[in-house]
Subunit: 218 residues, 2 copies
DNA sequence: CGGAGTGTTCAC
DNA sequence: GTGAACACTCCG
């Protein structure tokens, strides 16, 4: 009954909404709402949905629980980006510029991406492509408050800037900003694909390891 | 290295703890914890462990991941009995006394056990032994919130009382309660053994059926 | 190792 | 006190 996937008119075609009632435990009776993309991927929260859809589809007035778009809803009334208030509001702003921001002469030429949840949990620098790509006006925005999504979603998200760093530069129109953000969106997809491939390679390697278990170790 | 079985001081003598790190997938790097009984049986979760040890060994303050007993840990802060709050917190308490509670004049004399996962999935009444056994003060406790365990483990567990039913009677000391619960624990073992045997018999019978497939059916 | 289902936290 | 968001457990 309450577990059927329903069409959701407020989302793009093909998206479904599901409601599940908790059956046991201290939170029994509570209702969880999930969404499914046309490809079948499950979404468990509004931020997760928002990350996936990108800025092309504005969820500002979308109510996750009901699945409806409410015109009266304040853009950001809730749903503040989790990092936002975490240090801008209270406590001393964290201006530490330790990783992932390389604090050298070539700061603008060699940004560093810290991939926290990667299997090997190491910090890498993509030194090759960084200098070839076009310079971005708001390069901080490439990391600030945004997260990876789509294919890997939760798996790889945890890129953030030290709190307190702000973008500066000549005044820009909203149009320009949107373009920039969309480019960020696409760039992220590329990065995630690359990381996904890396994961697969690792998995393959570990299979090889198992089939050569009797041999001498390196 | 991390796959060695270690002694676990917070458990009875002879129990071992093992940690295994996931090598690939989106949860790569995550650590799984297992325990082994003195006889070598593997345990993969706290509920499974708890079911096996019975009430004689209180795991309320036991942290499964670390293997240590944490005094500050609220008894039930996590690991609340899975069925507990359903109906007790909000909404109308479910006082329905449909099966497995027989709602007749002989309610105390003929409790009914609903064995959900049994091959034939039927409701049985143990009319013979029920009247012979000593009456239990908290007879509801024989089913409420407890589950079958050990030999069959997960296989047979799913016995529960309608929510909202509470034990009543003359005040009792904790000692008495513990004794009662321990007897429940032992009785459950007997029941499970019986059911296990029954399962084996059925399996054997079906083998016979197969070997006599060409004959006329009864 | 994945994922559904549940617990926990934090902002309000 | 409530509920959104997300971490985690547990079992297939």
């Amino acid at each position: 009954m309450e577990k059927k996937r329903m069409d959701c008119p407020s989302l793009p075609p093909g998206w479904k909404k599901e409601e599940v009632i908790r059956k046991s435990g201290i939170s029994a009776g509570k209702c969880d709402v999930y969404y499914y993309s046309p490809t079948g991927k499950k979404f468990r929260s509004k931020p997760q949905l928002s990350r996936y859809l990108g800025i092309k589809f504005d969820l500002g007035c979308f109510d996750f629980r009901t699945g409806r778009t409410v015109p009266g809803k304040l853009q950001k009334s809730k749903q503040r980006l989790r990092n936002e208030s975490l240090g801008l509001s209270k406590g001393k702003p964290d201006l530490s510029t330790a990783l992932p921001i390389r604090q050298t002469a070539s700061i603008f030429k060699q940004p560093v991406t810290k991939v926290v949840h990667h299997p090997t949990n190491k910090v890498k620098a993509d030194s090759q492509r960084a200098t070839e790509q076009p310079r971005q006006l708001f390069w901080e925005k490439r990391l600030k408050g945004l997260r990876s999504f789509d294919v890997m979603d939760e798996a790889l998200r945890t890129m953030e800037l030290p709190k307190g760093l702000q973008g500066v530069g000549p005044g820009t129109t909203d149009e320009t900003l949107l373009e920039q953000e969309e480019r960020v969106h696409l760039a992220r997809k590329s990065l995630e694909e690359a990381l996904a491939v890396d994961c697969l390679v690792r998995a393959a390697e570990s299979v090889e390891d198992m089939s050569s278990e009797g041999e001498a170790s390196p």
